[in-house]
């Protein structure tokens, strides 16, 4: 495949060369015209180079236009992260992208910045109606909805979509909120294995347009669950289980016309979709392409050159492109620097001696050079701001606190660290191991920075690279492994499933979720925190609930079992030609359903 690509590119270059003389002539001839026509033009999808500036698409729409047509070109390094099956995906970009061809009950508002945090009805006519103190949630579907094959979308299709998503043996990758929270019949394993079980105790469909969810316990934030792509309707007759991803039946404005695994996806207009039933999606481009398995640096270069519109992963440019872009004002103005709902941190594992002693853990909290952590991730712009809490600031409920001040210059408080070591009974320091993901240069740099800065107080770290693919399943995510190997520190990071305290904290703070392997929570094992989490998720009052997420955060950091490093930021490279480009804070990347192809 690589050869074919190179050949194609060579041909294109040859062609370009041949036409370049003409192009130059045309350019010269039209120069005068352009300067006259430009004033009236504005927003005609010609790149608007004059408006381009750093962070221009962060809180406002860049290159606004309602012109339809053209092809919007996405690209990605490596294969698609998990799956394009809406019921089987856990990547933020995948959720963002899925909205092009599938419609969940509700979704995040299509608007720049903070406004995108608001949930708006999508397939449903309104947000969920809570009853029974938040244990029952009812949604009404819009009228006239159709799948790509023309069959009408009914509440049964939504019910079926949620049911199939809980069979984690077949659809292994999606979040498990519905599995755990809906009131399923005892022992229900999903429609593939238990096709004849009546599941009305969990989801009822009293008529073709009404879906009623029954929860085991009240949950105030259910609309966030209804926003998951898992609620996008799936026609039972067309479901092929794990293979459904090869032909997802569209309920949105675009449908897959090519699914070439590992190479390319092409989506074209779905003629059964009607703008009348969809107030959210402008659906401007005629065609959407996704080039898979590109070289990561090539993705950046092609966005910079204008051959590609968006890096679909939306996680920010690679270090090479970052240094290049930030050093050149002309490139920098074509980039945006959003804060992410993600914190990079280090788990301090209390099951490993001598870290069972809180004072030894505190010595680490005080001893680390916080700026080193930040530098390891690329500094304040590419990496992010120094974090002293786990909950990132863009998540409501975030409280500012700094329980282990690292001095004015944030390079660590060595006196406090030494005192903590003395309290721990190890005034000369101690030895432990620190694991990190081998394929991640930033985590390697973090581990090296930890090693350097902790050596100042006599804490000796041995660094241990571990493979990325098995980090949670075989090494750091396995409590037995960390204990037996004496690995006291593991680099870690967590992004919220959605921007809310529950979406961030439930997976990494709840000790009852700790299993034999596969744990993202490597070090937080505090019964008091478990109770606080329960109390918060049952609280129906939004303001009170948000206050509680902040308290939980504080309680966890107080125990010195996590070292918050930075609140992540990304440097997104903006398309040179696409229209309606803006960063959605809900996804912390460009909103994919708003964009037009331009030109």
């Amino acid at each position: 495949m690589e050869v074919a690509l190179t050949k194609e590119r060579a041909l294109r270059q040859m062609r370009n060369k041949r036409t370049s003389v003409f192009a130059a002539l045309v350019a010269i001839a039209s120069m005068g015209l352009v300067s006259c026509g430009d004033d009236g033009g504005g927003g005609d999808g010609n790149g608007n180079a004059s408006d381009a500036e750093f962070n221009a698409a962060l809180d406002a729409v860049f290159n606004e236009s309602d012109e339809a047509g053209g092809t919007l070109k996405f690209g990605t390094a490596g294969d698609w992260g998990d799956s394009v099956d809406p019921g089987n995906t856990y990547y933020g970009y995948s959720w963002n992208f899925a909205r092009l061809y599938s419609r969940a009950l509700v979704t995040f508002k299509v608007a720049p910045g903070k406004a995108s945090e608001e949930l708006v009805p999508d397939l449903a006519t309104d947000l969920g109606e809570a009853s029974d103190k938040g244990k029952t949630w009812t949604y009404h579907l819009r009228e006239g909805l159709k799948f790509e094959d023309g069959t009408p979308i009914t509440s049964a299709d939504v019910k079926y979509a949620v049911e199939r998503s809980i069979d984690k043996k077949v659809l292994t990758l999606g979040p498990a909120y519905f599995d755990n929270m809906l009131n399923w019949p005892e022992g229900y394993r999903g429609p593939y294995k238990d096709p004849d079980v009546n599941t009305d105790s969990a989801i009822e469909t009293p008529d073709e347009l009404t879906v009623v969810f029954h929860l085991k316990a009240p949950f105030a934030g259910f609309d966030y669950l209804a926003q998951l792509p898992q609620t996008a309707p799936v026609p039972k007759a067309k479901d092929t289980g794990a293979k459904y991803k090869e032909h997802v039946i569209s309920s949105g404005p675009y449908k897959f016309t090519t699914y070439d695994a590992g190479k390319q996806y092409v989506l074209e207009r779905n003629d059964q979709w009607s703008a009348d039933t969809d107030p959210i999606r402008p659906a401007l481009p005629d065609k959407i392409t996704v080039q898979l398995n590109m070289n990561p640096d090539d993705v950046d270069n092609q966005v910079i050159s204008g051959d590609l519109d968006v890096d679909v992963q939306g996680a920010g440019a690679q270090p090479a492109a970052i240094t290049k872009v930030l050093q050149d004002e002309n490139l920098k103005k074509w980039s945006d620097n959003p804060t992410l709902a993600r914190t990079w941190y280090v788990s301090i594992i209390p099951a490993v001696k001598p870290l069972d002693n809180i004072d030894c853990r505190k010595a680490i909290m005080y001893g680390v050079d916080h700026t080193g952590f930040q530098n390891a991730f690329g500094g304040p712009i590419a990496g992010g701001d120094i974090a002293t809490t786990m909950l990132p600031p863009i998540i409501p409920g975030h409280q500012d606190f700094d329980l282990f001040p690292a001095g004015d210059d944030m390079t660590g408080d060595l006196d406090a660290a030494k005192k903590a070591l003395a309290d721990c009974g190890m005034p000369d320091g101690f030895e432990t191991k620190m694991a990190y993901r081998n394929e991640r240069p930033k985590e390697k740099a973090t581990a090296e920075a930890f090693q350097q800065s902790l050596s100042r107080v006599g804490i000796k770290l041995t660094l241990q690279p571990e493979p990325d693919g098995t980090y949670f399943s075989d090494t750091c995510g396995v409590p037995k492994w960390t204990k037996e190997n004496g690995v006291g520190l593991c680099t870690n990071g967590w992004g919220a499933d959605w921007n809310d305290g529950f979406g961030f904290e439930s997976q990494i703070f709840d000790s009852r979720a700790i299993r034999e392997s596969g744990n993202y929570n490597m070090s937080v094992n505090i019964p008091e925190v478990d109770q606080m989490l329960d109390a918060a998720s049952n609280e129906l009052d939004k303001a009170k609930r948000e206050q509680m997420w902040g308290e939980i955060d504080k309680r966890v950091v107080q125990d010195a079992v996590v070292y918050p490093g930075i609140y992540a930021k990304g440097l997104l490279l903006r398309s040179r030609t696409a229209t309606n480009v803006f960063v959605s804070e809900a996804y912390q990347m460009y909103d994919y359903i708003a964009m037009g192809a331009g030109q």
Binding site: A320, Q327, I381, A382, A447, P465
Partner: protein, 285 residues
């Protein structure tokens, strides 16, 4: 000659690394955040990757470690591993190759097939797998000592057939020569023939091919370090430095110096090996 001079220079550099770094650099694992510009993603301030009298080859992005010191210290790891692995290959290769040539028959058949097997083995894949699953402590070694031993073992074990085949061929021709025939007809034992008659005549080719094997091993060590199975960070090695540098290919100086070090070393050993062959084995010219 030039090759030989450069090799001597390299060995001296490796041996006196701490002394050199003391006067011309800063400790190889010391961070220098002040020399970096956080606003551009942690790239070094100043031109050419922050080159200055204090940092002759500039500093690394992200943590500001002195590249000169790391290249100098990296020479130790590269040379140590390459030399030890070569010694291992030469010992195994000479013993088994000479045995195969001398004894012939089924011994020759078995050893030759074993050589074929080793040559057919996907060594890089095997090395990667072994290095990943290898425990942290084994054979009374741990940490970098163990990693180095492991690399020496992997590289040495898989390269011996190259030497082995040549020695076997040489032995085959030598054992039919008159002086060996003479010794044999006088009733000399096989051991005597092997050590007193054959080995002295094998020293030439052994030396030549060992010298030519060293650069291969240096490249192999660099490849393994590049793939992340070499010595543990923060210990500097050339391959590991290259791996770090590829992430920042827009800052070419970072890649340049360890790349040049590998290039120069491999070239020097190859030139030296060629020269040695010309001197010891004029027929091969």
């Amino acid at each position: 000659m030039a090759g030989g001079a450069f090799i001597i220079f390299l060995v001296l550099v490796a041996a006196f690394a701490p002394l050199i770094v003391k006067y011309l650099g800063t400790p190889p694992n010391e961070f220098h955040y002040k020399l970096l510009d956080p606003a551009v993603g942690g790239a070094p301030k100043g031109r050419f990757g922050g080159m200055s009298w204090d940092h002759l080859m500039g500093v690394e992005p992200v943590n500001g470690r002195d590249i000169f010191s790391r290249v100098v210290y990296g020479a130790r790891i590269s040379l140590l591993i390459a030399l030890l692995a070569t010694v291992l290959s030469v010992v195994i290769g000479t013993v088994l190759g000479a045995m195969a040539g001398l004894f012939g028959g089924w011994v020759d058949a078995v050893i030759s097939r074993v050589m074929d097997m080793f040559l057919a083995f996907p060594i890089l894949v095997f090395a990667l797998a072994l290095a990943v699953v290898f425990p942290d402590k084994a054979f009374g070694l741990s940490g970098n000592g163990l990693r180095i031993a492991l690399l020496v073992f992997i590289i040495g074990l898989f390269n011996w057939p190259y030497i082995g085949r040549i020695i076997r061929g040489q032995t085959l021709t030598l054992r039919e020569r008159e002086f060996v025939e003479a010794a044999r007809s006088l009733g000399a034992k096989r051991r005597y023939i092997l050590f007193s008659e054959l080995l002295p005549n094998l020293v030439g080719p052994i030396l030549v091919y060992a010298t030519l094997l060293i650069p291969t091993n240096i490249l192999f060590e660099a490849a393994l370090s590049y793939l992340g199975v070499g010595v543990r960070p923060p210990t500097a090695s050339w391959g590991g430095m290259l791996a770090d540098a590829t992430v920042f290919y827009t800052l070419p100086h970072f890649m340049l110096w360890p790349g040049l070090a590998i290039f120069g070393t491999v070239l020097a050993f190859n030139l030296f090996g060629d020269g040695l062959r010309d001197a010891l084995d004029p027929k091969a010219r």
